[in-house]
Symmetry: C2
Subunit: 377 residues, 2 copies
């Protein structure tokens, strides 16, 4: 069993952000698994998506249920094999799991940042990650890898630091969000911001938490992570309990839970609202909205990816309607336009966007094979 | 120009509801267009969906912009031609546009019903509509017609009152909701119920309105009414205004509107929260959740539709992911299993679920042809 140990690195040098703002001294939480080899050529950086963290693989000492969020993928003998690779997980700026973010104290005011935490983008995260690589003595990454928003970071690495990345593994991702993607993010943000306990983002000062908004945000998110099919299979129209009062089994209530799917969503919303920070939710969904490397090239993704020199593996999942396979194929096409080496696997998985976190032997096999035959070579 | 005149009918006899509760004396708002013929054989009942009303066609005197919600479909010379048919629009019980609902006074308590209004189902609505037909002297309907939730009512008419319906026109509908459909309804309801101004459904007594919740509910609804494609075409990643402060044009804000799609959704949410009643939203989404004629037959839709004797037209739209064509095809298949006469048109329209309210010549042509060649014959 891989035992993980969270670490933290302090950076004194201010970080200029894409917005024009600057983040003064900051900390990054990270974990590493495996050993950096003598020529420092076996480092793999894992980038996280919305609600994940630097705890990517393994468990914490004495906490057998504390598996990292990509523990199926990363570890000794796993597709990204920590017997061969030195794997780094890092928590992004603006998050709520240890790296500097809105729940921490603003050195300029001595107060908790809250809504004053500057807007951060995928580009900013990659810049911060590059500084962490500097500090760890890693000039070139064997690979940078991520799913969903993490895949956007992997893609951005190849554009911001082309000579520092040999391989990019981009899973269930997209070159930018569609209007529908932005729409779901916006509803979730409005649910949070219009919660009276949001207090314009300074809820910490008021000793409250906008849990109602966070619950709604998470429920919306969950619907978009699952496919219609898997929801029907898992929950269908199943009632949570059969009322004896009526042959239909219904309780005839607008507010009580009737269907299992309602119970599931409420549970997911409640759980999330207990541990996730509302300002972080706003920041991270906005980073998703803003990511669009083609924008500076008049929308021409092929032109945008010209600067990349890494080799790529892209993976998508057929039932993922949040980041549909067609979006991955846009990236594949733009890479091919630039004669960039790219492998692409479209996995016929029923689980929707969530599939990128699940144990599917075909998916894990593709990644294993890529790391063995290409990254390790 | 068709001039519409809203009417109201009072019913003294209590209505037993599917839940076991009873609705005491109640009113139904309705409108009629065209003239009932001598043998009373040309009546067409139109059933409405979530936020519509009895105002189906025409305009109100002196209000040229007050077109009914299906004015493209119904009127003189239109597909459902009021020169030939006597068309009735009726507002459902529990709604907020005139028929007895949660905004009105509970005769038992002398207080506004609010959350005490009983849960009503598609079956109850059809029973109430049948009484209105009795009162109008209509024994048999030439056709009953509706889209979405309205289509569920049309289908239910053929099962509850098989000998009173000659034709059923079921547009963009489904034999029941999927888990995903219920999930979206549930998030919308939770947004309303957890709005502190909901006051357990008795906001009227407290002089407040749960507008925040209604806004979120409507924003979620709107996303599901549109197709991904039409959203990309209409809004894409277009910014509402281009910030001059940064080459990206972004304002870098988590709360301000950046993208046009955000502006559109906020506008729709605001507008809706001004006129729609929160308790009605809960009731109507629950009626959607509960509708499932196959349930009493162990999930066997063919067995459930055995009692139907009407002839059917079903219409669906290729990009409708809320009530996908596959759901309409389930109904078609179950009707065919019973040797029931059914015509089916799947319209290749880009607009998603909203298509059923829009002016598409192929769609309107199919309905026109069906009414001319089948219903009028």
């Amino acid at each position: 069993m891989l035992i993980a140990t969270p670490q933290s690195m302090h950076f004194e040098e201010a970080l200029p952000l894409q917005s024009g703002a600057t983040l003064r001294a900051y900390d990054l939480s990270y974990e590493t698994y495996g050993r950096l080899n003598a020529d420092r050529s076996n480092a793999v950086l894992i980038c996280h998506a919305l609600n994940a963290s630097h705890h990517v693989a393994g468990v914490y000492e004495g906490q057998p249920k504390s598996e990292g969020w990509w523990d199926t993928m990363i570890g000794p003998g796993k597709p990204v094999d920590t017997n061969h690779f030195f794997v780094i997980g890092v928590n992004n700026l603006g998050s709520c799991f240890g790296s500097t973010g809105p729940m921490q104290t603003n050195p300029d005011t001595g107060k908790i940042y809250g809504a004053d935490f500057p807007v951060v983008t995928v580009q900013d995260w990659v810049d911060a990650q590059a500084r962490l690589m500097d500090a760890l003595g890693i000039q070139t990454l064997a690979a940078v890898m991520g799913g969903s928003l993490g895949g956007m970071q992997a893609l951005s690495w190849t554009l911001q630091y082309p000579d520092r990345v040999r391989h990019a593994v981009v899973v269930a991702s997209a070159p930018n969000l569609t209007a529908e993607n932005i729409a779901f993010n916006e509803v979730a943000r409005r649910a949070i911001v219009t919660d009276p306990d949001f207090c314009e983002g300074h809820y910490a000062e008021h000793g409250v938490l906008p849990k109602r908004g966070l619950r709604i945000a998470r429920m919306i998110g969950h619907i978009t992570y699952l496919s219609d099919d898997v929801m029907n299979e898992k929950f269908g129209r199943q009632l949570r309990e059969i009322s004896q009062a009526h042959p239909s089994g219904y309780k005839f209530s607008t507010q009580d839970v009737e269907f299992q799917i309602e119970s599931y969503l409420r549970y997911q919303g409640d759980k999330f609202s207990e541990y996730f920070d509302a300002n972080t939710y706003l920041l991270i969904t906005r980073a998703l909205d803003y990511f669009d490397p083609a924008a500076a090239f008049g929308g021409d993704l092929s032109a945008a990816l010209k600067q990349a020199t890494a080799q790529f593996l892209l993976v998508s999942f057929t039932t993922d309607w949040r980041f549909a396979p067609a979006r991955s194929r846009e990236i594949v096409k733009a890479l091919l336009d630039n004669q960039i080496d790219v492998s692409y696997a479209e996995i016929d998985a029923p689980h929707g966007h969530d599939a990128f976190l699940l144990e599917d032997p075909r998916y894990l096999g593709v990644v294993r094979s890529y790391f063995q035959s290409r990254v390790a070579a």
